[in-house]
Symmetry: C2
Subunit: 144 residues, 2 copies
DNA sequence: TTTTTTGCAAAAGGTTTGCAACACG
DNA sequence: CGTGTTGCAAACCTTTTGCAAAAAA
């Protein structure tokens, strides 16, 4: 999966981050968070396991779940078969529906839209989060 | 899954719609499209099968895939375990992260944002589609 | 009649669960 | 020491594939 990030890999104090989120510091958790910190791109359980073969796949699934619950990671929907996670920064993606290349971008000014949506909604008073992904055909595929 | 639609169920000429999209008119396809037309909400293979027990689950999967390819349906990501599809109208959702209730809305003015994104992108010149879902806690859950 | 679609059985792929051994705090 | 976490095996659930029979054009 070719991926063009919107920003450089963040510097994370792994141990500190885990403690802050109320998680015990264990070797698998440190290693898995390190991978996300270094790669800064969406990853599924299998792609992490490929880099950390000594860690059981089951542990990776459990770690991803607990990281998501405590807010370290977030799920991303890229219209792929498995669940992808990434560091919980505010950014979005453009996915090429032909070759699958992904480009990230940070700017996303949908405050106004969010406000409008809340005003129109009878059941929601506030909104915590949103997912926004664009799908198109990249320049290279357009030419081919 | 409680669902509040943004619009009334559309009136669809099932046979015509199938032919228009270049699909053969078969009983399973007519029935499955009827379900979407009547319910007007996101559904997965299992929920359709629950209503159409005489149709094999495999046929439902294959039908959903072909409906998506020809543009009758689109995938929606609701952060659930299975793949949900809905009629390919332009609308979005607010999902309650506590009880799972879903509210749909139609207005979505992100043309400007889309243009901005394309201008900033070095790899994409146009964008065909976007997914936009909001996540929050509904009023009822807030009180509970 | 030719081509596509369906149903059944079986397999595949991703993810979860049970439980004993182990490690963190 | 007590509780949370890991690894292994096995189960589970959703989705896909192969193939012969049935149906559409």
């Amino acid at each position: 999966m070719i991926y063009y990030p919107a920003m450089k890999s963040p510097t994370i104090d792994i141990k500190k981050e885990l403690k802050q989120k109320g998680l015990r510091v264990t070797t698998p958790r440190e290693k898995i968070l390190s991978v996300f910190s270094a790669e800064c791109q969406p990853m599924n359980a299998e792609s992490i396991h490929a880099q950390l073969k000594s860690i059981d796949l089951v542990t990776i699934y459990r770690t991803l779940t607990s990281f998501e619950k405590c807010g370290i990671l977030r799920k991303v929907d890229l219209h792929k078969d498995s669940t992808y996670y990434e560091l919980n920064h505010h950014h979005h993606h453009i996915v090429c529906t032909s070759c699958g290349v992904i480009e990230a971008f940070e700017s996303c000014d949908i405050k106004k839209l969010t406000q409008k949506v809340v005003l129109q909604s009878s059941r929601f008073k506030t909104i915590q989060d949103h997912s926004l992904e664009f799908f198109g055909v990249c320049k290279i595929c357009l030419k081919g």
